[in-house]
Structures are given as structure tokens and as C-alpha cells.
């Protein structure tokens, strides 16, 4: 590898490079680990875990749309206990090589978020926990945890109290003002914010007059959402001082650089993993090449380096 320094300090976390794989697009790393050495990555955010096993939604679960995909997998996962016993131990070797393993916690109730976080945190098998509060199906009448500042504060502070590792809160773009949500999460004790989760959307087959996804609606991701994500990362980074993971349609090193310039300290690669099994690796390599071409010695120099002429 080259002469550029790819290390970043993401709040309390030290990353060998700023590229993380995003939850739900990378399983527990096992499949992609057959394609390349995952220690090339800054970190892996594994599949969302819930208290009990979840079967997920009936198919079809995925639809392609212009510049992206729409998915409604439905949190299929073996449950946190099985994940701790079977899925996370094989990843521990990566941690010795400086690649972070980050657990993603999802829930259908306040209690579930806390239970799963506690188990994962105490397992000692993860370097950090990312909280998925962007899920619309929650107990108590459909108030999404992630779209109201008060519920965000409640769930993040509750989780914070039982979380012994750095806490990342993943923000939904499906809100009126993302900075309001970001403030609540930070005030409640989030160490890091990741943004954005998918944009709510739907796809219709006009010939059959039916929605393509069995769930009717799904989450939009991929290159189509990049401008939205860049804007929201920029907006939050301007509004407050908290380390950010920029996520949304990153498929190249140049895309990653754009997010860093917008104010992110690290970036998340999601849909690109589905487009190409080497997707995340190519972002790492592309970012290094970009820095060399630009004669930038350290990737940290890009962070928040957007030049805005007024």
C-alpha cells in the first residue's frame, strides 16, 4: 500500500481507514470474506440484531430503481444470542488486525433496544454499537423512534446507560429537520452519528397494478440518494460538533472523498456491496488513489474541507 495516511480518529474509535461496511449489506462478513481479506476495511457494521430471531418479510424483498435499489428485508436475523454464540466469534481475528467489528442493534420496543445493547456490549465481541432507530414498526402505535426528538432522546439515553462501548446512532433521512434529531441523539449520549439510513419509497408494477415489494414500501439506497446524503451530512456537520459517518450511495473513492469534505470522518458503504462483491474494497483502494493523485498526505486533511465561497 502507498504512502498516504488513511487513519482517522472517529470520536473514541481509531480506524485504520475511514471505510466501513453498512449493516444489512454485508451479513456477518462471512460471504464477502471469501472474496477478499476483510482486514482491508476500516470496520464492519454487521447485520441488525434483535432480541428474538426474526424471519423477516415475505418476498419480494428487493426492487431495482433508477440509480438504486429499494429493499424491505424486514430485519431477518438469528437473534442476538445466536449472533453472539455463532456469528460474531469468527470476526474476532479481524479486531486483532485493527479492523473494527460494530454491532447493529434494532428493536421493536424501548426494552428490546436496551436488552440487545446490553448483551452485545457485555459480550466483549464488538468495538462499538450502532443503534438503528430508523425503523417505523415499533410497539405503541407506530411512532418511529428515529423521527421524533423526544423518542430519540429516550431510546438513546436508555441504551447509553447499558452500553459500555462507543455508541453510534444511525439517523433516518425521513424527517423534517435532521439536525433536530442529531441534537437529541448527541444530548442523550451518542458518541458518533451515522447518516443517512434509507429513504422511504415504493415501486409499482403498472402492468400487474401491484407494488413490487410485498411490504409495499421499502428503503431506497444507492447512487440515487447520494446528493440527499451529502446535503444532510453537511447540514449536521455545520450545526454541531460530533463525529459523523457519511453514508449514501458511495461506490468509489471519489464518492468517499466527497462525504469527508462534507464533514464526515468516516464513510459507510452499503449498496455498492450488492453491486460488486469487491465494492467496499474498491472504495478503500479508490480513496487511497484519489489522495495520491491529489497529493494529500493524510485523509484527515479532507474532513470538513469543503470550500464554500459566499
Amino acid at each position: 500500500m502507498g504512502k498516504v495516511d488513511l487513519q482517522v480518529q472517529l470520536g473514541p474509535l481509531k480506524l485504520k481507514n475511514p471505510v466501513l461496511t453498512m449493516s444489512g449489506t454485508f451479513g456477518f462478513g462471512q460471504e464477502y470474506g471469501q472474496y477478499y481479506d476483510l482486514s482491508a476495511l476500516g470496520g464492519i457494521i454487521v447485520k441488525a440484531m434483535t432480541a428474538q430471531p426474526r424471519l423477516g418479510n415475505p418476498p419480494p424483498r428487493i426492487a431495482e430503481t433508477p440509480g438504486g435499489i429499494l429493499n424491505a428485508i424486514g430485519l431477518q436475523n438469528p437473534g442476538v444470542d445466536v449472533a453472539i454464540a455463532e456469528e460474531l466469534p469468527p470476526l474476532q481475528d479481524l479486531r486483532c488486525q485493527g479492523t473494527l467489528v460494530i454491532g447493529n442493534v434494532s428493536g421493536y420496543s424501548f426494552d428490546e433496544y436496551c436488552t440487545v445493547t446490553k448483551k452485545l456490549s457485555y459480550s466483549g465481541l464488538v468495538d462499538a454499537i450502532e443503534l438503528n432507530i430508523s425503523c417505523p414498526n415499533v410497539k405503541g402505535g407506530g411512532l418511529a423512534f428515529g423521527t421524533h426528538p423526544d423518542t430519540v432522546y429516550k431510546v438513546v439515553s436508555g441504551v447509553r446507560a447499558v452500553c459500555d462501548v462507543p455508541l453510534i446512532v444511525k439517523l433516518s433521512p425521513n424527517v423534517t429537520d435532521i439536525t433536530e434529531i442529531a441534537f437529541s441523539a448527541a444530548k442523550a449520549g451518542a458518541d458518533i452519528l451515522s447518516l443517512i439510513n434509507t429513504l422511504s419509497g415504493m415501486a409499482i408494477n403498472a402492468k400487474t397494478r401491484r407494488p413490487i415489494l410485498s411490504n409495499i414500501t421499502g428503503g431506497l439506497s444507492g447512487p440515487a440518494v447520494k446528493p440527499v446524503a451529502l446535503k444532510m451530512v453537511h447540514q449536521v456537520s455545520q450545526a454541531m460538533d460530533i463525529p459523523l459517518i457519511g453514508v449514501g450511495g458511495i461506490v468509489s473513492g471519489m464518492d468517499a472523498a466527497e462525504f469527508l469534505l462534507a464533514g464526515a470522518t468516516a464513510v459507510g458503504v452499503g449498496t455498492a456491496n450488492l453491486m460488486d462483491p469487491l465494492g467496499a474494497l474498491k472504495v478503500v483502494q479508490g480513496l487511497e488513489r484519489f489522495l495520491e493523485e491529489q497529493e494529500v498526505a493524510s485523509v484527515s486533511e479532507l474532513i470538513g474541507g469543503l470550500i464554500v465561497c459566499l
Binding site: T25, R61, P277, L281
Partner: protein, 283 residues
Amino acid sequence: MLREDAEKIQTAIIVDNRPLVSDVYHLILKAPKLASEAKPGQFVMVKVASGLEPTLRRPFSLHRLDRRAGQVEIIYQVIGKGTDILTERKPGEQLEILGPLGNGFCLQEGKRVGLVGGGMGIAPLLAVAEQAVQEAIEVVVFLGARTGDYLLAKEEFEHLGQVFVVTDDGSVGEKALVSKPLEEYLQNQQLDLILACGPTPMLKALAGIVETQGIKAQLSLEQRMGCGVGACLGCAFPVKAATPEGYTYKRVCHDGPVFGAHEVLFSVPKEVTKQGGCSCGQS
């Protein structure tokens, strides 16, 4: 840095790409590594264009494996943006492919094997028919399609074994579903194993027939697919399992595409679908 499976990412050269019927194309690729490694019933993901559009690769079954020539054949129907772009790709051009993927058919249990194909599901059966004949296994082929034009590779199958055909419009063979000649055949003859690919209603009917008759069967399933390597859980198909719900989801790309007929569930009980999950997309 790269590991073994990265070799599945290959550059193929288009040898031929022409329509068999107005909306069904025959693609021949020079891809020696794929041709030598693939098993009948496996599939390949094709990146139909360079750049970001379309977002995903397209999964195609392998119609024929010509190991000697280092070629594989694919038959595809033009159903959307991806396949439409693929029709414009010319001989001599390169295509990035990912494969072989999935498990493939297993012929081991049969001396006389029935192959049941409906519509585009006929495509992967030729490769397995050719392999069976090479292994001195007798094949009996049952094909069904919209019209006679869509009875893909009918002549090739006729060189390999007895062939029964039906069509939706009666233009060739009887106007019937493919299950009809199969059931008639089974009235006085035996099959040790059935391998099938086709529309879900056809496979569902077939699963019922083989259960009644006590015949082992392998079904090649189709599902909208994301990554193709087992990570995204996009291509889930319900299968019977000892869970509280009585089923679980398996990945067509990674656990399949070929499943035992006895394990496949063609629909999920309504009351459990409700608690399924969420559409946050992060899942």
C-alpha cells in the same frame, strides 16, 4: 488481498447474442473458467453495462456448458431495463460476469430422471439433461410454454431422450399444463427423480404431484436478487423449518437456487406475515 471467490469475477467475451423468438435471446459467452467449473443448475450474475446503471447484476441460469469450447450458453427473456440493454451487446464485446453461483442440481439419486420445464424454466434443464446422458442416466423431458415458439431447445432435448410438450395455446402439443403429460406418464411408468424449473404455480403443482407419488424432486427457484452471494437476504424463499412459525427463509442465491420439493413452502401463512418486520431498509 483477494481470496478464492474473487476468481468468480470474470471477463467473458460475447460469441453470439441473438433472438430465438421476439423477446427471448440466446447468449453464448466465451468464459473458459466458468465453463469448466460450473455445474448444471448453477447460475451467473451478469453486469450488462459498465458504469452505475443498472444498479444490480442480472442473474441467469446456465443453459448449456460446453467445457471443450470453453463456452457457456444463456437464454434470457427481455423483461426490463437490464435485459433490454443486454440485447444490444454485440459479439466480440466483453461482459463482466460473477459465477458460478448457487448449488446446482444433483443427479446422484436417479437411473431415470424426469425433467420438467415451464417457459424460461426450460433453459437450465438442457445442461443437466446433457450431463445425465453423459452419465448414462435416462432422461424423460416434459416441456410447457405459452406457444410452440417458446418451447426452447425442443430439438436438442429430443436428441437426449423422450420429450412431451404442451402449450398454453395448443399450437404445439396438447393445450394443457405441463403437469398433465407428467401425471399421465406416471400412471404406468416410473421416475426415480424429477428436476424442475419454471413458474411458481407450476412448481407448486409439481410439488403436490411428487408428494402424492413419493418421488424425490429438486426445484430450481427464482426470486428477485440483490448481491447474489448470500449477504443481503434479498432473495429469500420460505422453506419448512422447526421454528415457532413452522418455516424460515432461505437464500435462493446461496442456499439454492435448487431446493428439495419437500422443503419448499409456496406461501407464508397470512397471520405470521403481519409481524414480519420493517421497511427501514437497513435490515
